[in-house]
Symmetry: C2
Subunit: 423 residues, 2 copies
Amino acid sequence: MAMNEQILVATGGAAPAENFGTRIIELAHHLAQWSEMPEGLMCTYFSPVHKAVAIQLREWMLSAGLEAKIDPVGNVIGRYPSAEPGAKTLILGSHYDTVANAGHFDGRLGILTALVVAEHLQRTGQRLPFHLEVIGFSEEEGVRFSAPYLGSGAIAGHFDEDALARRDASDVSLATVLRKEGVELPAIQALARRPETLRGYLEVHIEQGPVLLSRGLPVGVVSSITGSARYRIAIQGVAGHSGTVPMPLRRDAATAAAEIVLAVERRCRAGTNLVGTVGQLNVPHGLINVIPGSCEMSLDVRSVDDATRSAAIHDIFAAIEEITGRRRVTASIKEIARHRASPCAPAMQAALGQAVARAGVEPFYLPSGAGHDAEMFAGVTDIGMLFVRCGNGGISHSPLETVTAEDADVGARVLLDTLVHLN
Amino acid sequence: MAMNEQILVATGGAAPAENFGTRIIELAHHLAQWSEMPEGLMCTYFSPVHKAVAIQLREWMLSAGLEAKIDPVGNVIGRYPSAEPGAKTLILGSHYDTVANAGHFDGRLGILTALVVAEHLQRTGQRLPFHLEVIGFSEEEGVRFSAPYLGSGAIAGHFDEDALARRDASDVSLATVLRKEGVELPAIQALARRPETLRGYLEVHIEQGPVLLSRGLPVGVVSSITGSARYRIAIQGVAGHSGTVPMPLRRDAATAAAEIVLAVERRCRAGTNLVGTVGQLNVPHGLINVIPGSCEMSLDVRSVDDATRSAAIHDIFAAIEEITGRRRVTASIKEIARHRASPCAPAMQAALGQAVARAGVEPFYLPSGAGHDAEMFAGVTDIGMLFVRCGNGGISHSPLETVTAEDADVGARVLLDTLVHLN
C-alpha cells in the first residue's frame, strides 16, 4: 500500500494547522475508490468493497503508529494507549459503511479526523490520561439488512439480536453472513465494553443539514441527538369512476392523504426543534380515471425534546382523525420505530465548546436531526459530538455532499484541543 | 348451444313487461362465464374468451330472428330490416369487452337490452320505418392496447390508425393481431357507415355512478357525454434528510403535490357539472427518512361543458404555478388526452324522455361523466343514451357492480317504446 503510506508521509510531518483538513479530504476521496456502484459511492456491510475499506483503514492506523485490528463484526479499531495502563478509554468513532450513491464524508470524516489527530498525538509524543481508541464502525446506515448501528451497537452493548434474522436483497440473513465469517452471537456479545472502563465517546460528523452553512460557522457543538417516531399510515376510501361520481359524493383516499401531509407540515412548522416528513406517498395501482380507493404514506416526526415530539404526534393523530372522519374514509396507523432523544453530556458539550472558542470560532450549539453512532453510547458513557459544516446547501446522502478542507481542518484542531484539555 | 336457446325460449314468449329484465340479467350472468381471470370477469380484445363471447352473441341474435354476423374487427351485428328496403338504419349499440375484474353489466347491458327488444319486435311482427341494427362492439375499454373505441370507431368512421402500432402486455402490436386474423386496414376502413344512411344511434348503459340511485329513479336520459382532459404532472423539489433540514428550508415535492391535489378538489367542487381527479399520486423511490425530491401525479378533469372544463383547467394551472413558485419547486405538465364534450341530439333526448314519462317514470336528464361508444357517433348521426340505475352506491368496473331486473326491465320497455314512436 505504498501510495497510501505516501499520502500520510507526504503531509503527516507538517504543522497541523495547515494540513489536517487537506489530508482528511484526500483520504476520504481515496477511500471512495472502493464502491459497489460503477458510478457513485456505495459500501454496504460485509461486501468485498466493505472489507477492502476496512483493510485500508487498518493499514492507515498502523502507519499512524496505533495498535490496530478488525473485530469480528468488522469494526476497525486503532488504539493509542495512555501512559497509565489502568486508565479508562475514550472512544473516537464514526462509521465507514455508506448509503447508495453516497457522499464521501458521511461517517468517514469522523474516522479520518480521529485518525489524523491520534497520529499527531503519537508523532508528537503527547500522552493522554486515558487510552484513546479510533473506531471505524462497520455499519450504521442499515442499508443491507435494514438493521442500523450493527458496529457501534456491538461495542456499546446494544447489539440488536433480532437483526440476525433480517435478510438482504438476495434473501441471505445476517446470521448466515456472520456464520460464514465464523462469527457467532457470543463473540459479538463479548465486544461490549463495560461502562466503568470508558471515559467517554466523541464523534465528529458532517452536519448533513444547512444550519452551520446559513450561520457562517465551520463547526458546531451538538446539544442532543434527535428522538424520532416513525409510522406507516394506510388510508382506505372508496374507489370510483373519475367521470361519474360527483365531487360531494366522493370518499377519495388521496385527497384525505393530501390533507394529512399538509397537517403534518403545518404542525411541525409551528414547533421549535421539530420536523415532520411524509417521505413515502403512494396510491397503490392508481389509474388516471379511478378515484383513489386507498393511499399509503409514511410519517417521520423528530425532535430533540421528547415532550415536543409526543405533543406533535398527538396533534397530528387528532388531525388525522378529524380529516378521515369528515371525509368518511378510515386510517390505520402502525408505529414502526420510536427512539427517545439522546442528549449530549453537558461536560462534553462544554469541553468541545471551549475548544471551539479557543479556535477563534463562536461556540454554537445545535441539535442533530439525524441519528448517529453516538446514540448507542448514550447512557453507557458521556457522549459528545462536533458537527462540521456541510457545503452545497447542506445536502448529504448524495454525491453532491461536500466539506471544505478548511472546515475539516477546524474540526480536527478542535477535536485535538478538546482531547488535550480533557482529564 | 341448446342451453342458451333454452334461456331465450323459456322466457321469450311471455309478456314483455314481466320478462325483459329477468332475461337480460340472466343473459349477462351467462356471458360472464367466459373470462380471462379465474375469479372475476375479464374479456379483452381478440382473446379466446372474447371470441367465445362474440360467437355466443351471434347465436343469440340468430335465435332472436335477426340476420347476424361478426365483422372483421370483432363487432357482432344483428339486423332486423325495415319493410322499406331503402330505409335508413338506426343502430342500438354498446360493447362486450370488459376491464379487469369487471362487473357483468358495463357495456353488455346495452347489447342485451337491444337484443331482447329487437327479438320482441321480430316475434310480434312490428316493422319499423328504419332498419334496426343491434351491435355488440368488440372494444371500448382500451384495456389490451390502450386504444379505446376500436369497435365503434370502425363503424363510425373514426378508427384510430395510430392504434395499430400500440402493443399489448406481451409486446404484440394491434397490427400483428389483426394481420393474424387476416384483417388489413382497407377492410377496417370499409366498415365505416356513410352518415346519410343512418337514422341515429341509441345506447342503453348502466350509469356507473350514484345519481339515479340517490334520486330514486330506475332510468335517466343522458343530456351530454362529458369532455375530458388528462395530464401527467411531475413535481421536482429537493431531496433531503428528514431529520436535518428545518421545515422552513425544505423544498418538498410531496407537500407541493398535496396542495395541488386539494386545489383540484376545491376548484372542481366549486363548479357545476365538473369533476377533477388525481388518480395517480406517487413519490418515486420514496424513503421514510428522505424529504421527497420528486412527486408524480395524474390529473383528469371532466365536464359536459367545454368552457366549464377549460376554465377549471386554467384555474388549476394557475394554482399549480402559485403553489410551486411559493414552495420553490417546479412542475412539468404534459397533456395526454383531450376530448370535447358530445351533446346528445335534442330530438333523441326528447324521444327517450317522452318514453320514460309514458313508462310512469319522471323524466330526468343527466350528463354522462364516463365516455361511451355513443361518442364515436356524435357528429355522424343523432345520438341518444339511456342510463339504467346502478346499485351498490353506483360502483362500476368492479364485481360489486349491480343492476336489478326491475330496472333493466324499465330500460328495455323505454327503449322499445322509443323505437316504436320514432319516425
